[in-house]
């Protein structure tokens, strides 16, 4: 629920991103208020991952501006973006295969601010995801898909950020596990964490987020408070049907 006093934490203004001659994002603008869960819905190739990549410094914008806490962070190195308080649970989890679960989590607390509190942060992550504590000594390569996703989110938590971007957490996972992960995200959000969720699952995105943006072919075609967006229309937009094509 958005209130009038909510501060905008992250702003994306008129963002263009090109891959060589190919334009992946066209004039994308977003406002992410603090403490909310914002979802970005779109099909494969709609540009969602590119958008997250631009925010985290993995892609350089060709035009436009990204502002975090009134500071321009457009185009700065990823590790600098992270030190300012934004991190991501990337698509496919990307856990450190050769390290144990606990080492993965400790790696999350690499930066000094988080490193000082690492024991406390670790406790919190283990509280949220007990299965990670069970497997803390095991090599990450033996985890199931759902456990990897939890590890990726846990690692992001260890960074002690203000915003966590989640790139397709539900990809390839059983519905039961996805539901569990989303409930945990909501729980973490209640404690003050801002989330940007990128998803292909329209229903879930609308259900668990406060505000949604719909992307088609690199453009925002629809946005609004999630509870007020009609699922049918969102799905139409998603598939590029009628007026959104």
């Amino acid at each position: 629920m958005l209130s009038q006093e909510d501060r905008t934490l992250l702003t994306v203004e008129n963002l263009d991103v090109h891959y060589g001659d190919l334009q992946a994002l066209h004039n994308v603008s977003l406002h992410i208020p603090q403490g909310t869960i914002v979802s970005i819905i779109g099909a494969n190739g709609a540009g969602k991952s590119t958008l997250l990549g631009a925010i985290t410094g993995l892609n350089k914008p060709t035009r436009g501006k990204i502002t975090f806490r009134n500071e321009d962070i457009s185009g700065i190195h990823t590790h600098d973006v992270v030190s300012k308080g934004i991190t991501m649970s990337p698509e496919g989890s990307r856990v450190f295969e050769k390290m144990s679960v606990e080492e993965n989590l400790l790696m999350g607390a690499y930066l000094s601010r988080a490193r000082k509190k690492r024991k406390e942060l670790l406790k919190r992550v283990y509280g949220l995801f007990p299965v990670l504590k069970e497997k803390s000594g095991q090599s990450a390569t033996y985890l199931s898909g759902g456990q990897r996703q939890m590890l990726a989110i846990g690692r992001a938590l260890m960074v002690d950020p203000e915003v966590i971007l989640c790139d397709e957490v539900s990809l390839g996972l059983a519905p039961v596990i996805v539901k569990d992960i989303y409930h945990k995200i909501v729980e973490i959000n209640r404690e003050g964490m801002t989330f940007i969720l990128v998803e292909q699952d329209v229903k879930r995105s609308l259900k668990y987020s406060d505000y949604s943006y719909v992307m088609v072919k690199g453009r925002i075609v629809m946005e609004g408070p999630s509870s007020q967006l009609p699922e049918g229309e969102v799905k139409d937009a998603f598939f590029g049907i009628s007026k959104y094509a």
């Binding site: 993995l58 990823t78 590790h79 992270v82 450190f96 050769k98 400790l106 490193r115 960074v159």
Partner: protein
């Protein structure tokens, strides 16, 4: 029979030294996927540097080593940051060719400054034996080489496995994007890794200089050895690196026994080629 035993012992002792030479290369290859073709030459440069400094400080090899290590760390850091980091994302060939170019430059600079005559770092240890028994003896310098190599290998193992920065190195070698996303400056990790590799190379350089003679082109020979260690021992395994070195050392010594002194290197090369053909990932590589 005693001759054989002596050769085996020498092979093992030398193997430790070869392992340390290969260690630097293994580190770079494991973390960045880059084969530094200038590794041997960088090592020999530190040998020459140690020689000059040792002469300057009236034979005190410790001061010479200290200064050499510091200088080479800076050189390594510089090479990585300014030269190699820029082309790491441009494919496999450009970084390789840059190190090739570096190798050319270094060898010719050394040739220009010191000439092609063989040199050595004089030390009394080379002629002495640390242990003498009726069946074999252990040369003092070989023993020192072995002990120092083991110490360096263990220290590096400790740094990589037990420190936060070592963890950052491991993370970077696993997944650059994920590492950046937890705040690791991966380009700086590469530069520091190169600096670490240079530390091992300069220590190895000093030891080589005290044990053998060298010329500006000696680097090439040790480059192939280092590569042999990496290939035989497999990447990512410090124990493997040590064993790789020992196998190479043994191959060399036994080769000289069975085929004659002249063929010792040749035999080492053949072993390397065989392994490259059938098991390039190394004998001891950890499965992914």
């Amino acid at each position: 029979m005693e001759v054989l035993l002596q050769l085996v012992i020498n092979g093992i002792l030398l193997g430790g030294l070869y392992a340390m030479i290969g260690l630097g290369m293994s580190l770079i290859f494991g973390i960045m996927g880059l084969i530094n073709l200038a590794h041997g030459d960088l090592m020999i440069i530190s040998t020459y540097m140690s020689m000059v400094l040792a002469l300057h400080f009236s034979g005190n090899v410790f001061i010479a080593l200290l200064i050499t290590v510091l200088v080479m760390m800076v050189v390594g850091f510089f090479c990585q940051s300014v030269l190699i980091n820029r082309v790491l994302d441009k494919g496999a060939e450009p970084p390789l060719l840059i190190t090739f170019g570096l190798s050319i430059i270094l060898q010719n600079v050394l040739l220009l400054i010191f000439g092609a005559d063989a040199k050595s770092i004089p030390t009394k240890l080379a002629a002495q034996n640390a242990i003498t028994t009726p069946w074999f003896s252990i040369s003092a310098i070989y023993l020192i080489n072995f002990v120092i190599s083991i110490l360096v290998i263990l220290s590096l193992h400790f740094i990589i496995m037990k420190t936060y920065f070592g963890r950052a190195i491991r993370a970077t070698s696993g997944d650059v994007v994920a590492s950046e996303l937890v705040g690791v400056n991966t380009k700086r990790v590469y530069a520091v890794t190169m600096a670490l590799a240079m530390v091992t190379a300069s220590i190895a350089g000093l030891l080589i200089g005290m044990t053998f003679t060298y010329t500006p082109t000696t680097g090439t020979q040790y480059l192939i050895f280092a590569f042999g260690v990496v290939v035989i021992g497999g990447m990512g395994s410090l124990v493997g690196t040590l064993l790789g070195g020992i196998i190479l050392g043994l191959a060399q010594m036994l080769g000289s026994y069975f085929f004659g002194m002249a063929y010792q290197l040749f035999f080492g090369y053949v072993v390397l080629l065989v392994i490259l053909t059938f098991r390039p990932e190394g004998l001891f590589a950890r499965t992914k």
